[in-house]
Symmetry: C2
Subunit: 331 residues, 2 copies
């Protein structure tokens, strides 16, 4: 019998389709793994081609050879300057597309990935996320900042050199609003943060936990929308990614790297997206929301049913996805 599970934050139902259940390695990437060179002369993100990108907004470390670079996207989804102008006539509601769209180059080495880099290198990427998150939030037009990564063509990237992106919007996006509203309702009913509650319950249950360190816990959500869907929750309550301290920064780099290494080895370098879900500017200090990271391997294809209903069909049991990933050996 298939099972319906509800994400109690968003109230979205997921079908856990046990009748269609497959073995964990059925989701593994089938193609032979291509080993990428460390340097590609034509790659705009490789060292030596710095003048091919727009001017840097951040370089780490501050002196010597760069390890992480941040600059505006050459083809930005939103324009960095201009006034916010809203119009509304009949069915047509629009506003000018003002915001920030940046690229974070994670390493000078074309052939590395976050899964193969060192803790220290990944920590520098997290440091860049933090600095640019803060800078973007301080822009007057910005209401919310989304930091995300697309790994592989099926996850929506066309450039293979390791990079993440930041898009700062002049509105609060629907996925964020939905979580804020769900979390506020839980706070009304129970007087506590639904994410803190989930974290506590997942730690007690244990069966969906994949990684844990003193500051973070990573698990396959109870109502995972697809195989190997993962959440990384900070143990300390805070609505904004911007509030993490030094020890947490290092711990986040470690747990993110280890999770991505488990995916990389267990599923043969799958395509994936991750996103840092942080509160909007106006809600950075609320008690009912809690920032976190969602990682979604793109190992199945959404189709007309997901489009029409918003329900996902997950052909893997979340508890089995977690067990499989726990058993992958990583450093």
């Amino acid at each position: 019998m298939p099972e319906l599970r509800q994400n109690i934050i968003t109230r979205h139902w997921v079908i856990i389709a046990t009748e269609r259940a497959r073995r964990p390695d059925d989701f593994s990437r089938k193609e032979q793994r291509a080993s990428l060179p460390s340097h590609v002369p034509t790659c705009p993100f490789c060292p030596g081609n710095e003048e091919k990108t727009p001017a840097e907004t951040l370089r780490l470390p501050g002196q010597g050879t760069w390890r992480v670079r941040v600059f505006p996207n050459r083809f930005p989804a939103l324009a960095p300057t201009g006034a916010i102008v809203r119009t509304h006539a009949g069915i047509k509601r629009s506003m000018t597309g003002v915001g920030i769209h940046e690229v974070i180059v994670e390493t000078p080495d074309h052939g590395q990935t976050l899964a193969t880099m060192s803790n220290e290198e990944v920590e520098r990427v997290v440091e860049a996320y933090l600095q640019r998150h803060g800078a973007a939030l301080s822009a007057p037009a910005v209401e919310h900042v989304t930091i995300f990564k697309n790994h592989g063509a099926a996850a929506g990237t066309s450039l293979e050199h390791p990079h993440s992106q930041l898009i700062a919007t002049p509105i609060i996006p629907s996925e964020v609003r939905e979580r804020l509203e769900g979390a506020l309702q839980f706070y009304d009913d129970n007087g506590r943060c639904i994410f803190c509650f989930t974290l506590e319950q997942e730690a007690l249950d244990g069966v969906r936990v994949v990684e844990e360190n003193p500051h973070f816990i990573a698990f396959v959500p109870y109502a995972a929308l697809s195989p190997y869907h993962l959440w990384i929750f900070p143990k300390r309550h805070c609505a904004s990614f911007g509030c993490i301290g030094e020890a947490e920064k290092s711990a986040l780099a470690q747990i993110l790297r280890r999770l991505l290494a488990r995916l990389d080895r267990g599923l043969n370098n799958p395509n994936y997206n991750f996103v840092i879900r942080s509160a909007p500017k106006e809600s950075e200090a609320v008690r009912y929301y809690h920032w976190y990271v969602a990682v979604v391997p793109r190992v199945s294809q959404t189709a007309g049913f997901e489009l029409g209903s918003g329900m996902f069909i997950n052909a893997a049991l979340p508890e089995e996805s977690a067990r499989f990933l726990r058993e992958v050996k990583v450093d």
Copy 2:
């Protein structure tokens, strides 16, 4: 300057990324078109293999050679029998996965598609949708019925023989609930159906309209979430797909076929999904909701930003998508 547009029904914002704008034929499928044979002996949906599928729930026409067949999915996402049992403990809210999952084989001819079939043939498919929609709604466990089609691998299908699917769920899915709530709010504010209002405004505006006949109008939505996204609205108000009459059935077949033919010729047989968005069983007679068909060609890739924000980035102006499709010659 990019533009943000809001779908006034769901309140989702879309980025119309004019800085990234591409020519219409950049979205055209690049691979050489494969001509499929009319009959494939190993295809479970081809004539002669009827015993390889579960027992039929519908065959059209009633006598002689079949033209359309409907039967339960061999690997159903939901189980056809069993009791609805709900459980809720802590973060874990679940229910038994009871529902209906059927396959509608649209033609005995393996090499046809809805874009190349005759009006009469497509009308028979619509007739099958109608009959099975009604039958599914009459099942006590069912609250909502989604009818959809996945065309091509990137749209989530693995079998190339032309077919659609029906999934009837024991809950009202989130995408449906969201539209009901948005439409009810508009009805509260304005005393009328937001879909009737949209239809009227789109017909007046004209620039996004692609097809029209006495019973239906098809247009690229003002806040289209991707290039060539299309809506087919019935001109007569009704919340449920189940209410259409004989003349409307024929008119729907005609407009659907012509739209799919425009996509097929204009974009070289793109992958696409379509879904019939109909009201839940308990809301079939409401004044504020209006059934319609959404067609989404899969010509761009969603990535981490869409996942994180729920905002789509559309690299084509809806008005230009509409003009391009209007200019494609079809019978």
